[in-house]
Amino acid sequence: MANNDKGSKNYSRRDFLKTSGIATGALIGGGVIGGLIGANAGQNGASPTSPDGPPNQTNEQETGSAGGVRGLQFFRNNAEFEILAQATERIFPEDDLGPGAIGLGVPYFIDGQLAGAYGENSKEYMQPPFFEGETTQGYQSRLRRNEMFRQGLEIMQREAQSRFDANFVDLEGEQMDEILTAFQENEIEMKGVSSLFFFRLLRQATLNGAYADPIYGGNQNMEGWRMKNFPGHQPAYINEIESEDFVEIEPQSLGQQH
């Protein structure tokens, strides 16, 4: 469990906590929060437009990030990364069951994925010509996934400004939900992709990060798996599968093989 160092850091920064209505003490995965706060922890001035450098952070309690070092591979500043973090937290919020997207490291997971084959559409057919097509014909955008994310997050910020005259990350949770819902209802104009398509991508990427093996940087300390009672990588269930009762098994990551 990663909540052994709670209280040793300042987690009260309203940017993160008010949005999901969570109590400070419930936060798990302090390295992520700490990473987002960076050197400005405890100060109130780190707005999404602040010139913070890449939020690197060392935390020996974390698994899944080599040597406990965290950093950004795709996003270029904290501002867009924080919008992503807040949006994913609304999709998968912290509650009494356990951590939300931020506590699970989902934003870092997505950042890493966007920098690689997923974000670059390496295994997708990306040859022209591009036409809009029917919904049943699926992905027809010339945009790569990482371009969709960058644009989508920009538009979230723009919507926050135009609807509420505030930064996205400073909105109340319900206000963020209103914007996310507008994306989901396809009411937002995006270039080269529909807002519904982007929303589905964001939602799925959030779930991927919550439940993928921690070797990818999300699902911190396997808390996603613990919430769901999924034991991760187990070699065999041949001795348990005939049990009449539900069997709880401490989860195991592939990373523990190395």
Partner: protein, 570 residues
């Protein structure tokens, strides 16, 4: 510059189940065989860290690289076909073993009714039970003729099962290994379907119940129920796959070589014979010609059809006139079913790809269709394949798809949900077919295959009737909430449905209505064979691999006979 290689007796295009079976049988007879595989070598040793849902099940590690080649798709002829830019509805395999590496191992024999569907439907219900735009036809072979080949495939694969399905065709011998464990979850299905008057039995499985040495001398291990089968390879060598059975059997003869990274782009021909194939090295893009006495197309449904089309072999199907056979009778599968939400937690994360119980009471013509507006049906199964957390987020109706309520409901129901699923037969329709795309190409410059497909009234009627039956079973199993599948509308290539695509290179009794004869020998080119689920004249109510395996053994017989005597085999 093209390099022409030394001629061989037999060349196969692709090395999965069909290519491996042809190779093993022909090489054992002393024929020199080359397998051209566009992917890489792979085997059990590559799967020691395979319990990775994200990499294998979500990001499709083992599947085809669509940046190189895909298909185009539209629902109907009045739409513009567009490329399938990312994988969704079905998952095309790649590398040694093909889809036979990442299958679940559910291994069925199609019903006797399937092979004579036209004759038997007309006899029982009179002609015109289905409107004439449904192009059902007999397969040119009967179940009894194919039975020895089913038997052979099951023995090579070591299938675990029980001869307890009252609707199955006659078997010449029992399953080679006993059925898998009948877990508490399967017993719920067994009790419920028995109470309803049906006849449950253990699903025939290629995840073996015990260690087994097959007739070729290859060892298959016992399944450990780890819950990572479909979309994964097996780290135990316990899920029968080509690379642990027929491929090593072929290699041990000394008469078999596989060339990897070899993407065939054309079947070469001269007069009424094919002379070999042309392929491109996927790494260097060098071109090679592999001459051969016999060419066997053993790749997936789509690619087999595409190679014939780009090589101008056979008459293209024309949906306007109904003439031509190549690309005709593309079919898929219809998936009626029901989910049940339960109060107690269950071990849904444990399992194996073919761990399940089934009933056939609503499959084929096992029930009376006189008052129904469809034919055929579905096998119903409850499988315990191992639910994984990214893909399995079941929520009751009216739950939002994100946010606090979604999180709570999806976590709670992950271990509290069971499904009864039907694999519904898919009848061919005049307007569902494959052809070549005129706009999009693969990276080798070859046109993409174009698929035109939509669900039909027959499909909707079958789905609606059988979804009600599935819901009744789930109710009887004691679910608190039962949710039947939504009615089907237009086919959507985005969400995963099933990799049971069929047709396009169908088999039959006459050259006017089929691409190959019942030895899977091409009607126009006697030294060309085309084998796979593309031979299915319609799709039945089961997974296809058992029937594909049987057809591959039939085809191997044909290749060997042809190599000895020449000429048409029928």
């Amino acid at each position: 510059m093209v390099t022409t290689l030394d001629s061989v007796d037999v060349v196969t295009v692709g090395v999965g189940w069909t290519g491996g079976i042809i190779a093993a049988e022909c090489a054992k007879q002393g024929l020199q065989v080359v397998g051209l595989e566009r992917g890489r070598e792979r085997g059990t040793e590559d799967f020691s860290i395979v319990h990775d849902e994200y990499r294998y099940a979500i990001r499709y590690e083992l599947m085809q690289d669509l940046s190189r080649e895909t298909i185009t798709f539209r629902n109907s002829r009045d739409q513009r076909a567009l490329p399938m830019r990312q994988m969704g509805s079905f998952l095309l395999g790649e590398h040694l073993g093909g889809a036979g590496t990442h299958w679940n191992g559910q291994t069925w024999r199609f019903l006797p009714y399937d092979f004579e569907i036209k004759t038997m439907t007309d006899e029982k219900y009179g002609p015109g039970k289905l409107p004439e735009e449904y192009t059902i036809q007999d397969w040119g072979i009967t179940y009894d003729e194919l039975e020895p080949y089913f038997d052979k495939f099951e023995k090579v694969a070591g299938i675990s099962g029980e001869d307890a399905n009252p609707f199955a065709g006659q078997r010449s011998s029992d399953y080679p290994t006993p059925p898998m464990k009948k877990t508490p979850l399967l017993q719920r299905f067994e009790t419920a379907t028995t109470n309803l008057g049906y006849s449950p039995f253990m699903l025939p499985s290629a995840n073996l119940s015990e260690p087994y040495e097959n007739p070729d001398g290859q060892q298959i291990n016992a399944c450990q129920y780890c819950g990572f089968c479909e979309r994964f390879g097996c780290e135990y060598g316990a899920k029968t796959s080509p690379e642990i059975t027929v491929v090593p059997a072929a290699r041990e003869t000394g008469n078999y070589n596989i060339t990897f990274n070899a993407n065939v782009v054309e079947v070469l021909k001269e007069g009424d014979r094919v002379t070999g194939v042309r392929y491109i090295d996927t790494v260097t893009f060098e071109e090679f010609i592999q001459p051969a006495e016999v060419v066997v197309l053993t790749s997936y449904v789509m690619n087999n059809a595409k190679l014939l089309m780009v090589s101008d072999i056979g008459e293209m199907y024309d949906p306007e006139t109904g003439n031509g056979t190549l690309g005709k009778n593309y079919a898929y599968q219809i998936l009626p079913g029901a989910s049940g939400f339960f109060e107690e937690q269950m071990n849904t994360f444990m399992g194996a790809g073919a761990l399940g119980m089934s009933i056939d009471d609503f499959n084929g013509d096992n029930f009376d269709h006189s008052d129904l507006d469809f034919i055929h049906g579905a096998s119903f199964s409850m499988t315990q394949t191992g639910s994984r957390p990214i893909a399995t987020n079941p929520v009751p109706p009216d739950t939002p798809s994100w946010g606090a309520d979604f999180k709570r409901a999806s976590i709670e129901n992950y271990t509290r949900t069971l499904n009864v699923g039907g694999q519904g037969a898919s009848m061919p329709h005049r307007d569902n077919y494959m052809t070549l795309d005129s706009t999009y190409r693969d990276i080798y410059g070859v046109p993409l295959l174009q698929l035109t497909y939509n669900f039909t009234d027959q499909d909707r009627a079958l789905h609606s009737y059988l979804t009600e039956r599935a819901a009744e079973i789930m109710q009887e199993m004691g679910a608190q909430t039962v949710v039947g599948g939504n009615p089907i509308s237009d086919y959507d290539i985005v969400p995963y449905q099933t990799t049971h695509n069929t047709g396009g290179t169908i088999m039959g009794a006459e050259p006017e209505t089929s691409v190959v004869n019942n030895y899977l020998q091409h009607w126009d080119y006697e030294n060309l064979f085309v084998v796979g689920a593309g031979n299915f004249a319609h799709n039945g109510g089961y997974n296809p691999t058992g029937t594909v395996g049987a057809l591959a053994y039939r085809c191997a017989d044909g290749v060997i006979q042809y190599s000895q005597n020449g000429g048409s085999l029928v």
